[in-house]
């Protein structure tokens, strides 16, 4: 014999339309953004690398004949590292630079703190 019969607890009623809306989280944007999806990849200078490899293969790995390609590859990597360092330092402090298009989460947060959403 089922328990319900004795206790007279009603069975679960089917949900009636329209379903009443319950607000679980506040229905507005937060005043900050999280930095979870903010991972930049470390891959750079692939194009320069492939050009250099092609040159290497053509000249049997003689570096003297590929000095132009090598220097362009090295300059590219140096540039990339400089940019990365500067970005990292700014990221640590959340300093804003006018005209910057890709903002980091910390920069965004400083911006949002200055101009909080209404």
């Amino acid at each position: 014999m089922r328990l319900n019969c004795n206790l007279k607890i009603p069975a679960r009623v089917p949900q009636k339309e329209p379903v009443p809306f319950k607000e679980i989280l506040p229905l507005r944007l937060k005043e900050t953004v999280s930095g979870k999806g903010d991972k930049t990849s470390d891959v750079a200078c692939l194009h320069e690398m492939s050009i250099m490899f092609a040159c290497f293969k053509n000249n049997e790995f003689n570096q003297e004949l590929c000095s132009k390609e090598i220097s362009s590859f090295q300059n590219c990597y140096k540039d990339f590292q400089n940019k990365k360092n500067i970005k990292k330092r700014q990221e640590q402090k959340g300093i804003l630079i006018p005209g910057e298009k890709n903002l980091t989460h910390k920069q965004l947060n400083t911006l949002l703190r200055r101009f909080p959403p209404q």
Partner: protein, 236 residues
């Protein structure tokens, strides 16, 4: 670290927007936390020709009235001092026996001089004669330049498989690798042969863009080329 950040923050909040990165570097002096020198200290310039060139370019004005860090014991304005040779000596050195390491390198340089002089006198064509380098320091620099790799392979694990991925390296790293390879090549010898002698031969060979070290560098480049398909796997 937190209080430091707060100090920086309070200083920076007044003008938090900078026009470009250069201005940023000038205002924020990043200092090693345990450094005995404050951020206002600059590195010493101990080479006379460097000082003169700084006076000529007017660059000296920036550091003329600024406290300077003490020069290191091996920093000298002697004409025999060379930054790369100093570094190389330190890599040759074992158990802190620097005098021995310096002697070994000096001996190797002497041997290079002998080898090259012999070559110089044995060549009869006057045009070829001028192209024979007899300065051991120049040979050393040429050897280093010829054995510096451009790329490196790093193991990166992806889906349980370890791939050897070619990655670009910094100038400092490639310089270190070149020095290490030269020393390793010189150490791989018959026990009867002395280290300076083998080192001299390795340096002369590398300066001529041949020999063990240059071959090692080219092998590394070949391997990098073979693994170029994995180049987009990096720490990410």
């Amino acid at each position: 670290m937190a209080p430091l950040n707060m100090v920086f923050g309070s200083v920076l909040r007044k003008n938090i927007i900078f026009n470009n990165a250069e201005v940023l570097y000038k205002r924020v002096n990043l200092v090693n936390a345990y450094s005995m020198y404050g951020p206002q200290f600059v590195e010493p310039v101990y080479k006379k020709d460097k000082q003169e060139s700084m006076y000529e370019s007017g660059e000296i004005e920036n550091i003329l009235h600024v406290p300077v860090k003490a020069a290191r014991v091996d920093a000298t304005c002697s004409v025999f001092h060379d930054e790369l040779v100093r570094k190389f000596t330190n890599l040759v050195m074992r158990d802190g026996r620097k005098i021995l390491a310096r002697e070994l390198i000096e001996e190797a340089f002497e041997k290079i001089k002998r080898i090259q002089l012999q070559r110089y006198h044995s060549t009869e064509d006057p045009e070829k004669k001028t192209s024979v380098l007899t300065d051991p320091l120049k040979i050393f620099h040429a050897a280093l330049a010829n054995s510096k790799p451009v790329l490196q392979l790093t193991p990166i694990k992806r889906g349980g498989v370890t791939y050897q991925v070619p990655v670009p390296i910094t100038d400092k790293r490639s310089q270190f690798l070149a020095m290490k390879w030269i020393i390793l090549a010189a150490k791989d010898k018959d026990p009867k042969v002395h280290f300076p002698e083998k080192l001299a031969w390795e340096l002369v060979d590398a300066a001529g863009n041949q020999g063990k070290v240059v071959k090692k560098k080219q092998d590394l480049h070949r391997q990098c080329e073979a693994n170029r398909a994995y180049a987009h796997y990096r720490w990410s």
